[in-house]
Amino acid sequence: MTIQQTTASAAAEAVRELLRGHGAVAMAGAAAGNLVSQTAVTAGPVSPVVTMSAAADGTTPGTHASHGSAPVAPPSGMRVPPAAMAPRAKKRNSLLWPGIVVALAASLVLFGGKGGWISNFQYLQLSLVLVYAIAVLGLNLLTGFNGQISLGHGAFFALGAYTAAVLIDRYNVNYLLTLPVAAILCFVAGYLFGLPALRLEGHYLALATFALATAVPQILKYRHIEGLTGGVQGINLVKPDAPFGLPLSPDQWMYVIVLLMAVLMFWIGRNLLDSRPGRAIVAIRDQPLAAITMGIDTARFKATTFGISAVYVGLAGALHAIIFEYVSPDSFRFDLSVAILVGAVVGGIASLPGALIGGAFVQFIEKYADAATKQFTNLVQLPIELEPWTIYGILLIALIYVMPGGVAGGLATLIAKIKRKRSVS
């Protein structure tokens, strides 16, 4: 064994010591059973269940032979209990259910058309759900898995949307080609914004991104880019028709495109998190110091994660511009960043399926919150008419207390409880 390796393993040993407590706590929590209520106050938005599955993804593959020599050896203390490993063994089958869901979602197109079951408007709604789900997934990657707080992801949404709109409207670029361009631009912008943000942690990063989100509408109205952006008026687009003479309405066609994009982005996201860089991303969130000790280039990973996250949100923005057929500076105010954040927290901040729940939540609260608050106002006979933002706010605070893992985390806990009861009886 060379000297280098010796020091590396000595460091790993030290980290193991460090982490042993952490793992033990996690296991004790799993044994105790009532995870959420126990840690709701102290553990923050990541429910123990989510943390544990992340830890499972993050560390168990490290024991694999091919990673044996890597400095990212799994600390023994963080080894997960067998119960948490079970879903991993079943991974081969786990493709089945997502496959069925995707096939069902795709087959929805068959029910549309003139006089069909699903109106064009409903296709638009479904597409928007998926678009927001992609955006929420982007924020999840950054905030949930990497631990960097962003209140400004609306900015990258805007960048993607305007890239698509400007290219289509001013340069007659094919709408599909605008997506990779938006992705590249957003990656560069996100990476560059992530670089100074590296020095910032927690609240400071939140502040920097907060400032970004607040300034976005003004930046979009900047006089010298008015020729491109159309200033306050924004840009009107026309939804593309289905190619090859397919018997689909534009809304149906865009639904197919958005669905494909969503599947692609979720697939990439899952593979990313399952990969070695993905484990590094999670390690930086859980144990920043240990991650550095293990030889992870924290700075590069953080900035890159910021860039990747911006790609997700930017693509969502571009798709939004195309299906919504309109961009304007005032659609990208701070509210949008808040909506994405709310979606992430509601769905489950460190959960991929949670992103889909979050996306649905963002879209439907946008659509139905007004009506729901009106009904609620009438029901309780309030003297004033509540606004959707009140619901946002109350929900955010309540979730942090009651269900820090979001809906996905809550469901996971519930399923785990049911399973445990079954195995006992």
């Binding site: 106050v41 102290t42 553990a43 923050g44 938005p45 990541v46 905030t143 631990g147 707080i149 209140l151 100074p196 020095r199 910032l200 942690e201 927690g202 609240h203 400071y204 939140a206 502040l207 920097a208 907060f210 400032a211 970004l212 607040t214 300034a215 003004q218 930046i219 109205k221 900047y222 006089r223 010298h224 110091l289 701070f334 808040v338 954040l341 927290v345 901040i349 004033i384 008419e385 509540l386 606004e387 959707p388 933002w389 009140t390 946002y392 706010g393 109350i394 929900l395 955010l396 605070i397 942090i400 207390y401 820090p404």
Partner: protein, 301 residues
């Protein structure tokens, strides 16, 4: 030249408001290391309270005093009920709760008082005096009131036992607890004071920017910028920083205007106010996160 002086004077006046907001932010930060993103909306809500009291027929100063008192109570309640259980929670939880508070205050103000823009009376008489071409009576009033409030706060923290206890609780909670300071309540008092300062700042700036639920969004950002410039851990620095970004903001607009007139090139103007704040925030955070007067915090690992 007179225009430049005018700009500096009005920069100082808006700087006074930024200084108040920055101070409120710093008070909460030094005690809890939280950046209160809801500070601006809380101040806006307090301003609406004040406006409502004036509508009920109260005089300006009575209304302001009552509104500040109510805000103090609201601030204390928020700390006790919402934030106390989150002590020791991750930064993300706290930030999310602040965003939740922001959303609640914003929408409640809109729901109760509607989103239409309201004018807000100025308590200062419209008189002309020597130099009134450069600075208006309301602007002087703003600066005077702010400085009076800041002096009172300084005296409170410097010369009273309660102020000393609050400083102790913020600087070293463990030792403060050992000598019998009720640290929890000191934090709540800090929140209350911050909310009350916000109420005064809101009522002072409302006659200028008019009363509407969005009135504080850019002011909050400048408050953050001011607090960062001065050093987020230093109250005096935050006040100085607030005045500084106020003047800076107006000078940027002035020189932007000047270059446009002389060279015919538009670079920057009033429309880019928030971008200027963004640039200040990012620059300070990147180059000198401790600010001008803040102490550099070293962490033992």
């Amino acid at each position: 030249m007179e225009q430049l002086l005018q700009q500096i004077a009005s920069g100082l006046a808006s700087g006074a408001i930024y200084a108040c907001v920055a101070l409120a932010l710093v008070m909460i930060f030094t005690a809890t290391e939280h950046l209160n993103f809801a500070q601006g909306e809380m101040a806006m809500f307090s301003t609406y309270l004040c406006w409502q009291l004036i509508q009920f027929g109260l005089g300006f100063w009575t209304a302001l005093a009552i509104a500040a008192g109510l805000s103090f109570v609201i601030g204390v309640l928020i700390e006790r009920i919402i934030l106390r259980p989150l002590a020791g929670a991750s930064a993300l939880s706290v930030v999310v709760v602040f965003i939740g508070l922001l959303a609640i205050f914003h929408s409640m103000a809109g729901a109760i008082w509607s989103h239409t823009i309201k004018s807000f009376p100025s308590p200062f008489p419209e008189v002309s005096f020597a130099g009134s071409g450069i600075i208006g009576p309301h602007q002087i009033g703003m600066v005077v009131v702010t400085i009076a409030m800041l002096s009172a706060l300084f005296a409170f923290f410097r010369f009273t036992t309660l102020g000393l206890a609050m400083r102790a609780a913020a600087q070293n909670p463990t030792s403060a607890r050992l000598v019998g300071v009720n640290v929890d309540w000191m934090l709540a008092l800090g929140w209350g004071l911050a909310a009350a300062i916000g109420a005064v700042a809101g009522a002072m700036v409302a006659p200028v920017v008019y009363l509407e639920p969005n009135m504080m969004s850019s002011i909050l950002l400048y408050g953050f910028a001011g607090a960062l410039v001065g050093g987020i851990s230093s109250p005096g620095g935050a006040v100085f920083g607030g005045f500084m970004v106020g003047v800076l903001e107006n000078l940027v607009a002035y020189f932007g205007n000047l270059t446009e007139k002389t060279f015919g090139v538009y670079i920057i103007g009033n429309g880019e106010k928030l971008s200027v704040a963004l640039i200040i925030v990012i620059t300070i955070l990147t180059l000198k996160p401790a600010g001008l007067f803040g102490r550099v915090i070293t962490k033992r690992v």
